[in-house]
Structures are given as C-alpha cells and as structure tokens.
C-alpha cells in the first residue's frame, strides 16, 4: 500500500449551500483520512492522504465516498495536476529561481507548458519525468502516478463538458 496525498474540489448543487452540513456524514462515508475545507458556500474541498494499491484506486474511491454523501456534487478539480513554477518548486523542494534557470538554459528540451502568458502552467505529469531524468531531484514515483491519474480525471471532466463521451472517459469520471 502507498500513501497518496491529493486534493479534490467539488461544486455543490446549490451555490448558497453551507458545506459544513456534510462534515459528519463525510466522516462516516470514509473521509476520516481527509481534512475538509468548508470555507466557501457552494464549494467543498478535501485534502486526502489515502492509502491504496494505486493512485487511481485512491482518487476514485475518494470521489465515490464524497458522492455517496452528496450525489449531485460535481468534481471541479483533482490536484495536483495543473501547476505553475511555485508549485513545481514546492513539490520538488527547490527554489523558483532554480526552475526558471532550467527553463531558460534548456528552453527546447524543457517540458512544454499548456499555457504560457503572464503565468506559465504545466500538467504536473508532463513535467515530472523531465526532473526524474535530471537525477539530482527527488521525484516520488507515487507523485508521478498520482499526477497522471489526476490529469486523466481532469481531462475526462473537461471532455464531458464538451459533450464528448466514451466508456474510457466515463471510467475516469466516477
């Protein structure tokens, strides 16, 4: 069993809904390995450290737990997936400057971001393998696995918003 550390954000069926009413039921549904963020009406966020045999099992079972309490809650984001320079630096335990330097020095081999504007955003799953080959960064295998799972889940959700569905996608959006 491996521990997976991830955050799920949901939008509640009603924007005025106080998420605090679900806290006790979420515990009973199996979210005793999460902290529940209830700071915004209409939203619910959970940070799990869940033991499972795979990242997919960890994230999918967590989504199922939440849906068993609030069936109409819609998943907004599974994190970590979308990351900026600050997030990458924090996850790898190095400085932002360090990441920036690598971006400039290896600008052709550095992983391509999904957005480059006033901020730069990557999928974590695209950036971690690069740092793994660099050798001197500690890249957790479980984090790499988790980032791939979250990317698939987030992509599946976006595809479904576009009305594109397939069995493969449905499997990912529990």
């Amino acid at each position: 069993m491996t521990e997976y550390d991830f955050t799920l954000k949901f939008i509640l069926p009603n924007p005025d809904m106080n998420p605090e009413q679900f806290v006790e039921a979420l515990y009973e549904a199996g979210c005793d390995d999460a902290i529940i963020g209830t700071g915004k009406n209409g939203y619910l966020a959970l940070n799990f450290i869940r033991e499972a045999t795979s990242a997919y099992e960890a994230v999918a079972s967590a989504i199922t737990d939440v849906k068993s309490v609030i069936s109409e809650a819609k998943l907004l984001e599974a994190a970590p997936d979308f990351v900026g320079v600050t997030d990458v630096a924090a996850l790898l335990g190095c400085s932002r400057q360090n990441i920036r330097k690598l971006m400039v020095k290896h600008n052709t081999s550095f992983p391509q971001p999904i957005h480059q504007g006033s901020i730069v955003i990557w999928h974590l799953a695209n950036i971690l393998p690069y740092f793994k080959t660099m050798g001197n960064y500690k890249v957790d295998n479980s984090l790499l696995e988790l980032s791939k799972t979250n990317m698939q889940i987030n992509l599946a959700r976006e595809m479904r918003e576009l009305g594109i569905t397939s069995q493969h996608i449905e499997n990912f959006v529990v």
Partner: protein
C-alpha cells in the same frame, strides 16, 4: 479542552499562535479551525475553514495536513515576510 491526540493538539496550539480561531463541537468532528484573515480574495478559499476530526484515520497525517494549510496561507506568508 485540548485535542486528545498530542500531535493534533500541538498543531492547534501552533494555529492559535498564528491567529487562527478554534471552535470545539461536533461528534466525529472534534471541532473546526477558522483562518484569521477571512479575506474574500484569498486563494486558499475552501480551507480557510476546516474540520478537525476527533479520531482521524491517521493522526500524524491529519496534523500534517492541518499544519500545511496554516503555513501555506498566502496572506500569512506576506505578513511574516514583512515582519522579517
């Protein structure tokens, strides 16, 4: 009443020292903690208010996650860096 678990009690003490409010009450939830800034523009958003379990599955992990929210608060970091 301090939290029955030492590790969690220590994090709550730390959170109070950083200005967080702790409210006891609940059954599975021992209570909740509330961020002192209550800033609408805050990006942490949801975790400005979070539940503390009486008996989490793993107390060390629970303590670790709560502590991380306190330390990652952007307004808090900004204030701390101004003090230095």
């Amino acid at each position: 009443m301090p939290h029955p678990n030492k590790e969690i009690a220590a994090v709550l003490k730390y959170a109070i020292s950083q200005g967080w409010h702790i409210i006891e009450g609940g059954s599975h939830a021992w209570g909740k903690m509330i961020c002192p800034y209550n800033d609408k523009a805050c990006r942490c958003g949801e975790f400005c208010r979070m539940s503390i379990w009486s008996t989490p599955k793993n107390a060390s992990n629970h303590a670790k996650m709560l502590r991380r929210v306190v330390d990652n608060c952007i307004i808090h970091k900004h204030k701390a860096s101004r003090k230095e």
